[in-house]
Amino acid sequence: MEIRRPPNSDLPLVTGPSCIAELEVLFPYPRVYPEQYAYMCDLKRTLDAGGHCVLEMPSGTGKTVSLLSLIVAYQLSSAEKRKLIYCSRTMSEIEKALAELRGLMKYRTQELGYEEEFRGLGLTSRKNLCLHPTVKREKSGTIVDAKCRSLTAGFVKEKKERGEDVEICVYHDNLDLLEPHNLIPPGVWTFDGMLKYGEQHKQCPYFTARRMMPYCDVIIYSYHYLLDPKIADRVSKELSKDCIVVFDEAHNIDNVCIESLSIDLTEDALRKATRGANNLERKITEMKSTDAEKLQNEYAKLVEGLRAADEARDENAFMSNPALPDDLLTEAVPGNIRRAEHFVAFLKRFVEYLKTRMKVLHVISETPPSFLSHLKELTFIERKPLRFCAERLTSLVRTLELTNIEDYQPLQEVATFATLIATYETGFLLILEPFESATATVPNPILHFTCLDAAIAIKPVFERFSSVIVTSGTLSPLDMYPRMLNFNTVVQESFTMTLTRKSFLPMIVDRGSDQNQITSQFEHRNDGPVIRNFGNLLIEFCKLTPDGVVVFFPSYLYMESIISQWQGMGVLDTVWKYKLILVETPDAQETSLALETFRTACNNGRGAVLLCVARGKVSEGIDFDHHYGRTVINMGVPYQYTESRILKARLEFLRETYRIKEADFLSFDAMRHAAQCLGRVIRGKDDYGIMVLADKRFGKKITQLPKWIQMALETKNTKLSVDQAVSHAKAFLREMSVPWSRGEQEGHSSWSMADLERHLEKKRVEAISGTEHPGMRAAEGRAERPRVVEVAKGEDDEFGGAGMDEVMAGLDA
């Protein structure tokens, strides 16, 4: 949002009551884009209707600010305060959203003349929010978590009160001295702000945020806090039903859901789990000799029921997470794992069983019921106690007052696995791969427990909250997400970017100058001509592009092979004359160094080319705005590795359950990643860039691109050879170099208050005439609706139509 000027008070955009269906929205910028206005209208519609929606709007058109300003206005105008839960993907996006919210609230105060009672907080991991001098120095997040727990757990405090000499965290303990619902003054707090405030008042920012959550109006955090059953249980349980949930950058949400419920176990993990179980056993014997009463207490509570063991939890507010259905939480723990020592032996037996399974030397794929029946046959472990495994372990760890929780991580993993496999019959698959690759001879088995159904993890979210908004820059085709995640929408809309000038040029290049095809198809990808043509394409675009060039390959493997061949062909030497060459690697630190160098090279005018991978880190979170990215090239369609067994299983599941064909899903997935890559270069309305899709197969997949790219992709640009593409690109860049001021977009792609009113007036007139004018939709930046072809159904078919069916039914019976 850095494009527009900060709030300009003499031109306030107070959209009046007539604008967005009786709601006064304070927009913190003097201008609003038409698509932003339409976006807010649709949001309002969704909130009023009380349902879920899917909205696609290109990045760089101010999605976040429109979202926030509308929802905050909605919150503050309505009597019952619906809380906003804003989920985003990365830390930097969360921070951006917090800053935006802060700006918005400042503007509101300024406009309204008084400060509203409002709290907005962000939540991130302990690692980012810790203030404790020794703990915060740790680098790994899990160690910080474990150390923090050892300083802040309830029993540590009890020990302290008993006069024992234990270390505690001052920052955490100070929180208890404050009023529990007013740990931090109202307002919007960014992470930096929280840290500073915490340092001043000597209070822990992490726990402040956690504890203040029920009293906040806006919460901004990562997806995982809502989707991952283990975390969602602890963090999101107090959220009430009428919250408004927003998933921003949601194009990968199905993968997040699946990851959150999938577990991979290795032999090493199982060995560690055994060690963990042995440790637990030792601790139990220790405790039996010193403090048998505590174990007895736990036992007594478990006899009553699991929930009674943790009275602090509120029954009604508890978020039913997929790992533990509600009926399970209210039921008592089965008798055979009630005693601590029995439970540990139970775990050991289960781990041993898994170890024997690992010894098999061929690939196995198994459904949970089959696994359970074999398990029962071999070890007499029933399904029911298995379901309680995870909760029972948590309870035991709490009772034993363990501090070094990170040691029990693998055991926890096994217990979660046990619970999941005993809970779900469908939607999951167990795949055992004994060898790393097809050619390996030394077995190194991995047991994948994969979730195939993205809907399972997100189901409680859709069921629990009345309005869930799924939004991103690339969600096309829009109906795919409701199908995959199994929910119904009230609004589905795709917006484009209204532009005064054509500021980006998508092109599909399907052959080289020598008329040979360009493709990353597996059979052809290593052909000499294909690689040479890819090389020529790179050389030409490096020649003509002023600053940064970003190139995306389908996989690391292909990138490496192509680069080594280019080296032999002398392609890299030629590119080197024009641009600095940088390469993304799987290593995060190397990549960030490469990125930094790339930025420096672009800043000082030499320009650089970054070769990276379509599913890598660069393609997801890094923006190449303005001169950092003037050209983006997709070398080949970024399909997933289709030989993966997990992917195959998922494809089969999608076909059988949701009727999504394999090819459809693969191509949808490839195209959403391609679109993500393309979207990296255009980050705003005054940005411009060239998008090259270099593969002949892209020609058939145009409809799967986001609407805003589709509409800019002219037919004449869909079948180009390299030299044609070069001439188009040159013409485009010449056009872009014409001096252009922001003023030109006034009234067309950026509205002032007056423009907005004019538009509304026009709309009202049109509405009276009773036709929905397509021009009106275009002016609001809505993508054209997909033409629904209605097949006229014949009155009567030759067999006598519907009446006949009844007769037939009668005969059948």
């Binding site: 990851e259 041993e352 190194n444 991995i446």
Partner: protein, 324 residues
């Protein structure tokens, strides 16, 4: 959930060092003999290689060759181990034995808590056996419980007792079976039959030692005694609307009684009566409307005549005792 996808290089410690690789009896190692297989015997769970088992136990039972272990082992019972941990291997064997005896379901109990208590007791019994605490007492109880269960569960046994078949036939039956069996089995059966005969006496008096007592265990309901087999499934061909008389005393009928032309084929006069009555009353109280209403769709009623029969039973006012 964080995926633990990272494969640790060389994580496979399948070929674990030393003690796994060495046969404790002959001290040969896998290094010299890569095809070596290890076997265990569930008597003592001592591991030895296949060739040692062949060498020592081929000529019949022998004591375990490991020092300090005096168990007598037989070759037939040696097997490859399923689990890496021999303790678990033994535990599972014990569980197998217990699962046979104690296999109550949640539905067998009145309340969930009773079931959970039951599970806990089972677990404790298992652990007693595993940790060798009170083995004899536990074994005794288990045996008692098993027998009690058998007595209760075997419906055939109870059925025989209920129908008061002559005691002698039962005895002769069992003795007949015993004669066919070997000596040891005969002894076992004798003791068991002795046991089962005592409960039949004591069960009426109420209490007997079942080894364990579980609260909230539902009384097992005996299945209702089977009725005699009825090939027509309750459907009778007895005439409903008339009574067939033995003899009609009419002059013109008596001639037929004595005419051999009529009874030579084996027919009696009564058969003629019966035939005639049936023909006269055939279709009585069968209403075509009812037949039609009973639609094809309602598949529950298996035959159309059933409806007619039902309707006929409803019409009680038609009283026809004797038409003649």
């Amino acid at each position: 959930m964080s995926r633990l996808a990272s494969r640790v290089p060389g994580a496979s410690k399948r070929l674990a060092p030393d003690e796994d690789e060495l046969c404790n009896v002959c001290k040969s190692s896998r290094y010299l003999n890569p095809d070596m297989r290890f076997l265990v015997n569930p008597e003592c769970y001592h591991k030895m290689c296949e060739s040692c088992v062949d060498r020592i136990f081929t000529h019949g039972p022998a004591p375990c060759p490991l020092a300090g272990c005096n168990k007598t082992l037989r070759k037939a019972r040696f097997r490859t181990q399923t689990f890496e941990d021999l303790k678990v291997e033994r535990e599972v064997d014990i569980r197998r034995r217990i699962a046979k005896a104690m296999n109550k379901q949640e539905s067998d109990f009145e309340r969930l808590i009773d079931y959970n208590n039951y599970l806990e007791i089972v677990e404790e019994v298992t652990w007693n056996l595993i940790l060798n605490i009170d083995v004899e007492e536990t074994e005794r109880k288990l045996r008692l419980w098993e027998e009690a269960q058998k007595a209760e569960l075997n419906p055939n046994a109870t059925f025989r007792r209920v129908t008061d078949q002559p005691e002698a036939s039962q005895l002769s039956d069992s003795s007949h079976v015993v004669l066919k069996k070997g000596g040891t089995q005969r002894r076992a059966l004798a003791t068991s039959s002795g046991n089962t005969s005592t409960p039949s006496g004591t069960e009426e008096s109420g209490k007997r030692d079942t080894g364990f007592v579980f609260q909230g265990l539902k009384k097992r309901k005996l299945p209702p005694p089977e009725k005699a087999f009825d090939p027509f499934d309750g459907w009778s061909i007895e005439p409903q609307y008339y009574a067939l008389q033995e003899n009609h005393n009419y002059q013109w009928l008596t001639t037929y009684d004595s005419d051999p032309a009529y009874f030579a084929g084996g027919w009696q006069t009564r058969d003629y009566y019966s035939r005639m009555m049936e023909e006269a009353f055939g279709g009585m109280c069968i209403f075509l409307e009812d037949e039609k209403v009973a639609p094809l769709g309602s598949g529950d009623d298996d035959v159309g005549t059933q409806n007619a029969a039902n309707a006929a039973i409803g019409m009680k006012d038609v009283v026809m005792d004797d038409v003649f």
